[in-house]
Symmetry: C2
């Protein structure tokens, strides 16, 4: 099958673009991961979000350890063709490795980053199974 | 005033982090810009989104030409401290330089990027004043 759609993405020199995961229904922005060609191809083939882990330097199926998979409903591309927007269903309602719904749990208030979202599940109970 | 909050951000080697602009109320993801320290500081000082333009290589107050300013209601930081999420009120209801509400106007369908959002205003009428 043609990969024109993958060529259309304006991959950065390191081969990556940011991919925003937004929750279907709530519209909440859950996290930002990074994707390369293989990650986006794998995401479309499996219907589940696959990112490129910059720390592990390998493809990383979101939730492969935690079970907090992301079912992908749609993928959008921005005008500069260098950012992806995924509409996802978040398994377990937890996207963040800290056990929170969203990774964006700190808000700037009077010059300080304040935690404004609760931990829904202790990370120890997510990862040490 | 202390700039601890700016030091807390995990700026990349090029000094930048992605900043997502999400519309207050609708929850729509409008665009992603890039910010450096000066951009984030200026955003907080003015209450309007200021990004770093990678093409122009200077600070860029969103809407400085188009009038499509973004009033910033809140700023969030993710768990890795390397992505910002802005809650904004979008002046004119147009974030994209193509005249659309959102920059994410193409959706992947059957291996093709399809335009799924209308042009609300001709870019010629936005920029050639």
């Amino acid at each position: 099958m043609s990969e024109n759609w993958l060529n259309k993405v304006n991959w950065a020199d390191n081969g990556l673009v940011p991919a925003i995961a937004q929750e279907a229904g709530s519209g909440k922005v859950l996290m930002v991961g990074w994707m390369n060609r293989d990650a986006l191809r794998a995401t479309m083939e499996t219907g589940e979000a696959v990112y490129w882990s910059r720390s592990r330097k390998r493809l990383w199926r979101k939730g492969e350890e935690s079970g907090h998979l992301q079912k992908v409903r749609s993928v959008r591309l921005d005008c500069d063709e260098d950012v992806l927007l995924l509409e996802v269903e978040q398994a377990g309602g937890i996207a963040c490795h800290t056990g929170r719904h969203s990774c964006f749990y700190r808000r700037l208030e009077h010059g300080e980053w304040i935690e404004v979202e609760p931990v829904l599940k202790d990370p120890k109970d997510i990862y040490d199974k």
